[in-house]
Amino acid sequence: MNLVQTRAAIPGRLLFGGDVGHRVFYGVLLALAVLVPLLNLAVPEGSALHLSTYTVTLMGKYLSYALLAIAVDLVWGYCGILSLGHTAFFALGGYAMGMYLMRQIGARGVYADPLLPDFMVFLNWKELPWYWHGFNHFALAMPLVVLAPGLLALVFGWFAFRSRVTGVYLSIITQALTYALLLAFFRNEMGFGGNNGLTDFKELLGFDLHHDATRVGLFLATVAALALGYAACRTITASRFGRVVLAIRDAESRTRFIGYRVESYKLWLFVFSAVLAGVAGALYVPQVGIINPSEFAPINSIEVVIWVAVGGRNTLYGAALGAVLVNFAKTWFTAAMPEVWLYALGLLFIVVTVFLPQGIVGFLRQRLGAAS
């Protein structure tokens, strides 16, 4: 054992050993919440330290992805449910937010119809469909961000877990679910803007979405949601409920025979995870400025799973780390050398699953643990 490794072991243990990893996570979020607004709003634009609004929005997008990754890690890492349909919940939350933002446009749309969104005027619709009513009120729209994915997860999970669909079969039907939703949202008749989705948003709660301060506000909201979501997941996994969930992951039948109602544990965990994904979607949409059916694409859900695998599942903060790292790489690669991106992503999938089954966090833990 040489000296370098021994030195590295001390901060390593602080970072990843025991309960410290999540403190670092909170610390990073706090630093972001303080520094990003400061560097964007207080530092003048010409300065080298200035953070452009584009970057702030990009970071906000990554953090909403991180929340989605945490939601996936909660069910996959802790309960062994590999959901390949989590972007369905993400997109449903996004659509709920998108519908609110769409109604806020009002008469400022291209066709200047005070009530109907542009795409409905374009489709020659005469009145607002019933399910669009109430979305002009923030207080009525926001519960749907939670309810729409939550209810879908409740109904789907109730059927699936009660009939003991597990493993690969569950993965495949979650994938079929998101695929069915993808096809459904592509239909113009559904009244969600069809192929083009919802876009051209103007303002949120009266704040101009193109304004720097609004962008920073959205970023802060995302940081807050991520922190709260993470805290909630920590609480759940550390509780008695969480320990039963771990038992289900490791020995489902045994847990059942001991007398736990396995399906209810799975169901509530799944519903909570779907709600988190919905919130992440709702934060994603105003920052990106569009929501369309391609968010339902099964490939997106698989990509989320790979973020979790890259970061390290069963750690929560590892999932967030993976989401940010992979998406940062994606942004960089697609700009610098787009033809290489799919090779890189594909090889990342292979290398991580074959050689790094515990992800980056697991790898570091192992190395640092071995070193000490």
Binding site: I299, V305, I306, L342, G346, I350, V354
Partner: protein
């Protein structure tokens, strides 16, 4: 011209002897000739008297106006001079031109402003000419119709019954006194039962507008049992519209005949839906059957399965680039080539990635998904991201006309047969060969198979290669139906997994039945729900079905069934 023809022709039909027939024919043409004069004079204000011989008619043609040209065609049909058909056909194809210097007519073939000339009287080559020295003998819509009927009347004398039937059907589309007369004439000499029948149908169609109610009734009765679209269109107004015919008996009979046709139409439409369903099903089966091996037998969630199909499709494309002039051979050779390419790719994937992940099915999903991304990008780099099309050989394209109401597209019939063939061969390999025996042994009890001396690692690689090779073969079939592009495989991945899971993981029969069944259900729903909704409904049905029976239609024991 009009009234005399029918009467004399009727007389001709009644008179049996050939001598009488010829005399009547002469009489017919003479009387019509005089009538033609009267008509031409009335219609076109031209005082030109039409010549009675072929060369004379030809000479008159270039200067004649359109209504006179109609008369000339009518005369030609009556005279039926040798090579008249070639003249009419060339005229219809805009290949009849007159020399400006002397007004002489030629059949021409144009190539780079040079005309190769053919004398219409002798059909001998008559040298070449420059296109600016010639003027086309024009025709209009009415004339084109007349020309088509005239050519059909020539074709009635063709030795092949098939050509004669086509001619009768062509004439049927546009019946008037002349064509009716010609058909009646023809019926006397026609020996072939099939042609006779078509002529009788044509005559009955003509009789539908006869003034005599009894004759109309007889015509409707004669048409009963016929299903051709033109018969249906002729009968429909009589059946539906009370003012179309004054006679109630005729209308009732027409209604019965129409209902008969509609019953058959409904039957054949149902049959067609079934065929479309089976055709879609056969594509699903082809695409899924390789996965039934890799996923069903080995328990590997092979997300790169679609990309292995894509490799097969690109093999077909490359084969066509190598054999550009022989699409048939290219497609046939592409089948073994695609099996080899995708099979080797599959073995490479198994050796380099999958073998580290046995017993961890969810992780094979992620790793093979990575493989699929790499393969897609590889194809994009090598072949460009654009879609390519692979031509179908001539024997695969076209329609297979079974009867008036029912036809099948040939390539779909071939692919249906091909998928069944692949299925049968795969069953044969798995059940009748030593490799198949070992594959099944390893799937059922790996440890025991190993103890018996089976080299399980080798069998793993070969099994994966077999499933992948079949995916490649499926890709060749897909290249005949759609364009070949880097995303070809991705669109099938969910469908194929659903087919395998629905059928029962590990069961080949299950895959066949579920693929065909889902195809048919999809096509049955489409008319009511629309294509996208039908697909959504099928997916929802599958999601619910898997809740009820997670092991599919035909559950099987094996490594896969235990592991998951």
């Amino acid at each position: 011209m009009k009234p005399c023809v029918g009467r004399i022709a009727n007389a001709g039909r009644m008179a049996g002897s050939p001598v009488l027939k010829i005399m009547l024919l002469l009489l017919l043409s003479l009387s019509c000739f005089f009538n033609a004069h009267a008509d031409a004079g009335a219609a076109s204000d031209s005082d030109t008297v039409l010549p009675t011989d072929y060369p004379g008619l030809l000479a008159a043609l270039p200067q004649a106006d359109f209504s006179t040209r109609q008369q000339i065609v009518a005369r030609l049909v009556e005279l039926k001079p040798p090579h008249g058909r070639e003249l009419l056909a060339a005229w219809l194809d805009n290949k009849l031109q007159s020399r400006q210097s002397d007004g002489k007519l030629f059949l021409v073939e144009t190539q780079d402003d040079v005309l190769s000339l053919t004398d219409p009287l002798t059909l001998q080559a008559a040298g070449t000419g420059k296109s600016e020295d010639f003027e086309q003998v024009r025709n209009n819509n009415a004339l084109r119709k007349t020309l088509k009927v005239a050519i059909a009347e020539y074709d009635l004398a063709d030795p092949a019954p098939r050509v004669r039937i086509a001619a009768v059907k062509q004439m049927r589309r546009d019946l008037d006194e002349d064509t009716v007369a010609a058909l009646r004439q023809h019926l006397i000499v026609e020996k072939d039962r099939g042609v006779q029948h078509q002529v009788e149908v044509a005559l009955a169609l003509g009789d539908l507008s006869d003034a005599d109610a009894a004759k109309r009734l007889a015509a409707v009765k004669a048409l009963e049992g016929e299903t051709a679209p033109d018969v249906y269109n002729a009968l429909l107004p009589l059946a539906r519209d009370t003012s179309a015919d004054p006679d109630t008996a005729v209308r009732t009979a027409a209604l019965a005949a129409v209902q008969h046709i509609e019953t058959w139409r409904g039957f054949y439409e149902a049959l067609e839906t079934l065929f479309f369903g089976l055709s879609l099903g056969s594509v699903l089966v082809l695409a899924s059957i390789g996965l039934a091996i890799t996923f069903g037998v080995m328990g590997v969630i092979n997300m790169a399965h679609g990309e292995l199909m894509m490799l097969g499709a690109y093999t077909a494309y490359v084969m066509q680039l190598l054999l550009p002039h022989n699409t048939g051979a290219a497609v046939l050779l592409a089948i073994p080539a695609a099996f080899a390419v995708s099979g080797l790719a599959g073995i490479a994937i198994e050796r380099s990635v999958v073998r580290f992940l046995y017993g961890r099915p969810l992780e094979t999903l992620l790793a093979t998904f990575g493989v699929s991304l790499v393969l897609q990008q590889l194809v994009r780099s090598v072949f460009s991201p654009l879609n390519r099309s692979v031509a179908s050989p001539s024997w695969m394209s076209g329609l297979w006309q079974i009867n008036d109401l029912f036809s099948l597209t040939c390539n779909r019939v071939y692919i249906l047969g091909f998928s069944l063939l692949v299925f049968a061969l795969l069953r044969l390999v798995l059940n009748r060969t030593s490799l198949g025996l070992k594959v099944r042994a390893v799937a059922q009890n790996r440890g025991m198979a190993k103890a018996m001396g089976v080299r399980t690692e080798r069998i793993d690689a070969l099994t994966f290669g077999l499933g992948s090779g079949i995916a490649g073969v499926a890709g060749v079939a897909l290249s005949q139906l759609t364009n070949v592009g880097p995303n070809l495989g991705q669109s099938y991945i969910i469908d194929t997994f659903m087919v395998v899971v629905f059928g029962g993981v590990g069961s080949l029969w299950g895959t066949l039945i579920s693929g065909m069944g889902l195809g048919v259900v999809n096509k049955l729903l489409e008319p009511y729900a629309g294509a996208v909704m039908a697909k959504i409904l099928v997916l929802l049905f599958l999601i619910l079905f898997i809740q009820r029976k997670p092991r599919g239609l035909f559950p099987q024991k094996g490594r896969a069934a235990e592991g998951m």
